[in-house]
Symmetry: C2
Subunit: 427 residues, 2 copies
């Protein structure tokens, strides 16, 4: 049996869970991979913090970079989670020192994945990041192995548990965004600074990783259509229910005319659609491939258990095998990205205008929409006589992103429109 | 680049599709695996049949066993599909001759998987059978790799496209079983002899393969609870709709008190349950694992496209890598199976009695149920006054399989009960 030393950097919720998981599964791992593993190095911000497990103090390193140089360490597991800084340094140095790397760090891979995979390939070591996308759902492995020779044309996912929890909870309890957010924070389902979860950044990182794997391309750096859920109000949730729709934050990536179109935004989805029913903290990914057809993967998207499951699958991949390309094919063969112009995309829209309840306002709005070639499929006006205001909800036929963008901006100068209209795309 | 020769035995729908798929993906496979593959041998029942592709006559072998000895062949793909006979001979001889084997043959693996994996391990070659379970859904790979170190406690699946298509179609069109079956045969969705699809045998083979992978056990040979959908009538479909339930043929395997409980039977499932909404030819598998939680995989379960997708993933697994254990761990470490006594299982039941419309019949039935400790949750009586008959549908509380079995049999001697009552277990 080959002896393998593991170093873990970062001992928060995930790191601590993983530490115990590795120890408890040692025998099983031995059976499956014919290796004898041991954790020979750990590092965390605070060496004195009370932890849920005991460890030999000799394996604790104050400077995590020392682990990346330690000759006893064969595999480094990075669980700090920054897109740059010490996280990048650890992964980079480990690879350069011919150590395999496992990371759950989507921000790092989405930003520096091309660079880091290049080093891994040169040094003939593995760089694995299954836990970066979809938590416990083995979606990267499925693209690389299970659906290996399929031509994938589109990937759609619910990829952020925090956002999905908030939207589900708002719908079920009819509580406001802020109320539900605070509750989620209390339950540990949202971070104290949830910005990247709520503004779509987290999903965008995941979508960029998925794109490059699914389409064999370099990671896109281009700015892209990204809206989060911060502007979804209870009014919109209630209105969507009346329309037999549900609001979900989707990440979508697809190839249109050989160009890559990546986007993250809330979508209104028909209630009987499969993806509309992925509720709470669950994640799901739908892959369209040829010849396999539509494949769906669903599972828990976050938390120590599911994340450890993914990290352990990376560990077994390294222990079992020969070196694999981090993105499935050699870096040199991954094509550069040409981006689809989002402005050319057509979408049906849900628009909500908050207006002064005055004669002529509706006609101003419809006239403006017509000017930008946006035609109306459905219109609902809900007056609030006390406040002398009204909500006007419009479902449009498919219209060009460029036009709708310009049109929405044009209302800024209209005093009757009380604030920037809410816009949600239909799925 | 290493040169690899492939032999394909069986050139029906699947084999022909795969032949073309391999040729069209040669370059992609080269990129991903650094190998140069070519199809160097093929065999089929009829060498003169008109086929959708052209081939060099020199690579056609009248005797498929010659392929298993051919020194140019590194990988044999078996697509005949018998549980014994020539299929077994081909796989066995190929492995003994140190050739990797890929097969889509669930009947073969469910029956001889232990024996064959032993040979593969001894000869240090791969035996891959992803296409045997779940068509295009990479569920075996997910258990072996993506969820590698999870402790799986239960697997539930819709694993037979033909059965699921028939049940879905009966529900949607309100046509009879026989009508829908004929239609399915015309569409190529049911075989001319659909026995093994409809009586649960096909699902049982798949469940046995899933059990051994999920629980690291030898394949069970024990008889087991197996009912198909042949006795489901339109009446049951209509009644299930009234009860807000749907009928699905499920394969279920789980560990109860360290014993293996495998079963295949139709289930009544609440309409809002995820698995109730897997319709048509789709397959789905739900895995309960620790620490990952619940994982769901869904996709097309049959047909040349999805099956080829799975066969190609097997091919890449071989081309990419070192030798893997066919069932994830060494055969010698796979434990023998101890079976759970199905008679001890508790289930709520749907019972439908067709009876003569006479006074006292209902009381006879309820008395008999009481005798076997089966208590009634709900009872619906639908009289047919013209025929002087009635249907009595009973939903029971949870009762022991042994008791319900005995109870149902006891009605044989009751002249008022016109035929063996229909029994469907609630999920």
């Amino acid at each position: 049996m080959k002896k393998i030393g593991i170093g873990i950097v970062g001992l928060g919720n995930i790191g601590s869970f993983l530490y115990k998981e590795i120890l408890s599964k040692k025998k099983d791992i031995g059976l499956k991979t014919n290796t004898k593993i041991s954790i020979v190095a750990i590092s965390a911000k605070n060496s004195k913090k009370k932890r849920s497990f005991k460890f030999n103090k000799k394996i604790f390193f104050n400077n995590p970079l020392d682990i990346t140089k330690n000759p006893d360490v064969d595999i480094v597991i990075e669980l700090i989670g920054q897109s740059d800084g010490v996280s990048k340094k650890i992964v980079e140095t480990s690879l350069k020192n011919k150590k395999h790397v496992i990371t759950a760090n989507k921000a790092l891979i989405a930003k520096h994945g091309d660079y880091l995979s290049n080093i891994a390939e040169k040094k003939k070591v593995n760089l694995e990041f299954e836990a970066a996308v979809g938590g416990g759902i083995p979606v990267l492995r499925t693209i690389k192995d299970g659906l290996a020779t399929n031509k994938i044309s589109k990937v759609v996912g619910i990829l952020n548990g925090t956002s999905n929890y908030i939207l589900t909870k708002m719908q079920k309890t009819k509580n406001s965004f802020n109320h539900v957010l605070k509750e989620a924070q209390k339950l540990g389902l949202a971070e104290s600074n949830p910005k990247f979860d709520l503004d779509g950044s987290d999903v965008l990182s995941k979508i960029r990783i998925l794109s490059s794997l699914a389409f064999n391309k370099k990671i896109s750096k281009n700015p892209c259509l990204k809206n989060g859920i911060e502007n979804i109000e209870l009014t919109d949730i209630k209105m969507s229910e009346k329309l037999d729709l549900k609001i979900k934050l989707l990440g979508i990536t697809e190839i249109i005319n050989n160009k890559l179109f990546e986007r993250v935004h809330p979508c209104l989805i028909k209630k009987d659609n499969y993806i509309a029913n992925i509720d709470g903290v669950m994640n799901a990914v739908i892959l369209e491939g040829n010849p396999v057809g539509e494949s769906v993967l669903q599972g828990e998207g976050a938390g120590p258990g599911p994340t450890s499951s993914a990290l352990m699958s990376d560990l077994l991949s390294i222990l079992r095998g020969n070196i694999k390309f981090p993105f499935g094919i050699p870096s040199s063969k991954r094509k550069s990205v040409i981006c689809y112009d989002k402005n050319q995309n057509f979408n049906s829209l849900y628009l909500r205008f908050e207006v002064k309840d005055r004669p002529g306002v509706l006609s101003q709005i419809t006239k403006q929409l017509a000017k930008y070639k946006i035609s109306i499929e459905r219109l609902i006006q809900i007056p609030d006589h006390k406040k002398k205001r009204a909500s006007i909800v419009i479902i449009t036929h498919k219209s060009k992103e460029l036009n709708s963008d310009k049109c929405i901006k044009s209302f800024k100068s209209n005093n009757n429109v009380l604030r920037t209209p809410t816009i949600i795309r239909l799925f």
